[in-house]
């Protein structure tokens, strides 16, 4: 292996993962399926209904071969146990629970009888990854369909057994009941000896959200007990016999190349030392010995001068890569005649907003345990893209993908930060050399330095508004931060919106809500600047320029809960921000208190109203919204990565401040349940309203407009 591939991972443009990877195709024989799962009933769901329709003449089918583009399957064993297989990954967003609810609802089986096998590249169908708030709108729906088809299959089996019309049978609580014949049969009795497969898409109507009994209810984490007892094994907790502990020697700076290396002492200590290109690592029977061996290695690196956070925003403006950008779509948006509209506006307001690089800081750092059996590789690792990591491993070691199995035990969070497989590759490289399994857990400093960051960015906004409060022109340029959420949801006839990709000085990638946080910060701050220019109330001004009913509804609901328009006392300020992202609608209102003497800014109260269609699990939804607002506080107020010459200067938790208990505002959440609209995700959208709400509240309290995130890393300068 050329170890260079480890470090030559290209800079990740935003949403890089959506363009990554060739689709994997399953080709399973029906008999193999049952050999592997045991007898019973299997229902599989396919990615492309149209393809199946072509192959089978439409609708559902039964047959010997299974379609190739399976994306989920469900098995009911001879014991009645339900096992659902999905490539989605659990990283704390509680989809293991919400997907179980969906299956329970349609299949009429108690939650306790359902097990989800997730994110195991050998057992579960291909999945591109768990990101973009797509699990609920896609996988939840697929699994409901699969469960509904399984239920109908069982009803059919019972009807045949009793020789009655299936229409009169009812499924409930793991049984099929014949209300007229006064008899019932357990699912287990029906699946006994069967080898039945059903392939979706089915036309079975799903249970409407208004009639949900299990979905739509708050259900606590299905395996919550394993977590409060410490029994759950995260990736970093994995242990197998004969396992060694690995450590990797990190370059002195980003992009540094190795000039000389002396690893003799480390080898004498009994550690396995790997030196392969610029990759240097050790493996030893204990982590302590591995660390001592690493410390005993003498290495010289050659590094080039690199930009620092001090000149970052100038650098971003000057280093655009336009013309050779590969992202293609959504980068430039032009309607009406922007230049004319701006020159004829009653008021024209121009501002520049910036956001810093921030780190995900998942509390569990990246970890991987790798084991080779000949040229077969098994890796347990924390990632949102088990199949993507499998591909990276296959590429790094020049082996076919089917020689690699990646398992993803439910992981200690990710927030978009665990899309890549460097830890897995490093552990596998060490294991290959040591000829024993190797576990590698990144230190917090490594996690801060060698993962990737939320992109920094510069956003210029110029907008024109009429005296009566109608926005006539909107021009927005985003440098580097990204194009997610860049389009305005206000009704403006003349717009120019451009994303300018930049050659980023730091490795960057996805972060919860992507650039929607930055773009909403700029847009919603600027909305307040415009409202101020025409002396209108912020809420009234927004509603005047917004037609979207769903968005209006959340702004109105949050305003009502917040008590918008109430009088304020000294130091107090109120503000709002919100928008539309990942198919959800959010409005967040914040109350801040600014200490006139110290300049300390305290976010006192946050009210969010959120609408994501039919709610699947209200309590977990609240949890996600609260969590988004708490995590969002960090990026809004004080989180920023400091760097210079390819080094991270504050890559420790003692140096990089994240929100703590004492930062917690009073959180209030209004859930707008739209049972008539399909459910969508909620892990990201709720985050985007907070930063502008705080910025607008600080302006309300002090008259000072803060246009850079983080806004007050050292308090508000009151000079």
């Amino acid at each position: 292996m050329s170890a260079k591939t480890n470090f030559e991972i290209p800079l990740e443009p935003e949403r890089y993962e959506l363009r990554a990877g060739a689709p994997y195709r399953f080709d399973l024989d029906r008999r193999d399926f049952f050999k592997f799962l045991g007898a019973g009933i299997v229902v599989v769901s396919v990615l492309k209904p149209a393809m199946v329709a072509q192959e089978s003449g439409g609708g559902r089918r039964r047959g010997e071969s299974l379609p190739k583009e399976i994306n989920a399957w469900l098995h009911i064993g001879e014991d009645g146990k339900v096992t659902v297989y999905t490539g989605k990954a659990e990283v704390g967003q509680n989809i293991r629970t919400s997907l179980t609810q969906a299956v329970s609802e349609e299949l009429h089986v108690p939650i306790s009888k359902i097990e989800l096998v997730m994110g195991d590249t050998q057992l579960t169908p291909f999945d591109m990854g768990t990101f973009g708030s797509r699990t609920t709108p896609t996988m939840n729906l697929q699994l409901r369909r699969v469960a509904a088809a399984a239920r109908d299959t069982l009803i059919g089996l019972a009807a045949a057994q009793w020789k009655v019309d299936a229409q009169r049978l009812v499924a409930a609580d793991g049984k099929i009941t014949d209300p007229h014949g006064n008899r019932s049969v357990e699912y287990a009795a029906l699946t006994k000896g069967q080898q039945l497969t059903e392939t979706l898409p089915a036309e079975d109507p799903l249970i409407p959200a208004a009639d949900w009994k299990i979905a739509g209810q708050s259900t606590s984490k299905v395996d919550g007990r394993d977590f409060v007892t410490g029994r759950h094994r995260y990736p970093s907790d994995q242990k197998i016999p004969d396992m060694l502990y690995g450590k990797v020697l990190r370059p002195a700076a980003f992009g540094a190349s190795l000039v000389s290396l002396d690893a003799q002492k480390a080898e004498q200590m009994g550690a396995t030392v790997v030196h392969d290109g610029d990759f240097v690592g050790v493996a030893a029977p204990s982590s302590k010995l591995a660390q001592s061996a690493l410390d005993a290695i003498h290495a010289e690196w050659k590094a080039e001068p690199q930009p620092s956070n001090k000149e970052l925003f100038d650098y971003l403006r000057k280093n655009t890569t336009e013309g050779h950008d590969v992202t293609g779509d959504g980068d430039s948006y032009d309607v009406g005649s922007i230049d004319k509209a701006l020159s004829s506006a009653d008021h024209k307001v121009t501002s520049t907003y910036t956001v810093s690089y921030i780190a995900h800081v998942p509390l569990e750092p990246r970890a991987a345990l790798a084991k080779w059996d000949g040229d077969q590789l098994t890796v347990w690792t924390g990632t949102q893209r088990p199949f993507g990591v499998r591909g990276q491993l296959a590429e790094a070691f020049h082996i076919p993908e089917d020689h690699v199995r990646v398992l993803m035990p439910d992981t200690g969070s990710a927030y978009g930060g665990k899309h890549t497989g460097e830890t897995a590759i490093e552990a596998a490289r060490l294991a290959k050399a040591a000829k024993r399994p190797v576990k590698l857990v990144w230190t917090r400093e490594e996690e801060f330095t060698w993962a990737y960051f939320r992109p920094a960015g510069v956003i210029d906004v110029t907008a024109g508004v009429r005296n009566d409060g109608v926005i006539t022109a909107w021009e927005m340029h985003n440098y580097n931060s990204g194009s997610a959420g860049i389009r305005t949801y206000y009704d403006v006839p003349n717009q120019r919106i451009v994303f300018h990709p930049v050659n980023s000085p730091l490795r960057q990638g996805s972060y919860r809500a992507l650039a929607a946080t930055a773009n909403h910060f700029a847009r919603e701050s600027h909305m307040d600047e415009l409202a101020h220019a025409v002396k209108m109330d912020s809420l009234e001004f927004r509603l005047k320029n917004m037609k979207n009913e769903r968005l209006r509804a959340v702004f109105q609901a949050a305003a009502k809960q917040f008590g918008w328009g109430k009088s304020k006392s000294g130091g107090q300020g109120f503000g709002m921000g919100g928008g539309y992202e990942k198919l959800g609608n959010i409005a967040t209102f914040a109350e801040v208190h600014v200490d006139a003497k110290s300049g300390e800014v305290k976010v006192v109260r946050v009210v969010s109203a959120f609408e994501c269609g039919a709610i699947v699990n209200p309590d977990n939804l609240r949890n996600q919204i609260e969590g988004s607002n708490v995590q969002g506080l960090g990026g809004a107020l004080f989180e920023a990565i400091e760097f210079e010459d390819g080094k991270i200067l504050n890559g420790r938790l003692s140096q990089y401040r994240v929100p703590r208990f004492s930062d917690l505002p009073k959180l209030e959440t209004v859930l707008v349940d739209r049972k008539d609209i399909p459910s969508v995700g909620a892990g990201e959208c709720p985050m985007v309203g907070l930063a502008p709400a705080i910025a607008n509240a600080i302006f309300d309290a002090t008259g000072t407009r803060l246009r850079s995130l983080p806004m007050v890393p050292n308090g508000l300068k009151t000079s």
């Binding site: 569990e364 949890n623 420790r652 208990f661 004492s662």
Partner: protein, 163 residues
């Protein structure tokens, strides 16, 4: 290397380790008690919190040589058989977790807090718990869980009188 005797969760363990090794490493690596988590290695996040003679301590910055002869309690030792400790139960009831990687440390800190102060108010909870990070941001639920556990732990005769 030396043979070190440790009293963990009411059991006695004999471990071959350097006295300078962190207690967290000994728990996780030598004894496979992986409920205590690594989060930062500098006592900043609280994920590794254990009880030493009933007081919460960060095991990542505690050298194993300093806890000889002391009673160590980890998350694995909190429940009695299948009966969860009230703080564990309250965390479940209040849904006070997302990824739950911080949960062991949160629960151990909360147990220590309630030992010291059986009826903490919100401010006292925030002060005591401020060294524990929940990156998923479930702080308000953790506060509610601690308040609930405090209620559950109060002797039954105090019921009614305390409200």
């Amino acid at each position: 290397m030396a043979t070190i005797q440790l009293a963990i969760n009411g059991k006695s363990y004999s471990v071959e380790a350097d006295a300078q090794t962190s207690l967290l490493t000994v728990l996780r690596e030598h004894l496979d008690l992986t409920g205590s988590k690594y989060g930062c290695g500098e006592g900043q996040c609280g994920a590794c919190t254990v009880l030493i003679d009933g007081k919460s301590q960060r095991s990542c910055i505690t050298r194993v040589g300093t806890v000889l002869g002391k009673q160590i309690t980890t998350i694995e030792g909190l429940a009695t058989g299948e009966q969860l400790h009230p703080v564990q139960q309250a965390f479940l009831d209040e849904g006070a977790m997302q990824c739950a990687y911080c949960t062991s440390g949160m629960i151990m800190s909360a147990v220590a807090l309630l030992k010291k102060n059986p009826s903490p108010n919100e401010g006292e909870i925030v002060d005591f718990m401020d060294g524990n990070i929940c990156r998923c941001g479930t702080y308000s639920r953790i506060i509610a869980a601690i308040q609930k556990a405090a209620k559950m732990q109060r002797p039954t005769m105090a019921k009614g009188a305390s409200r």
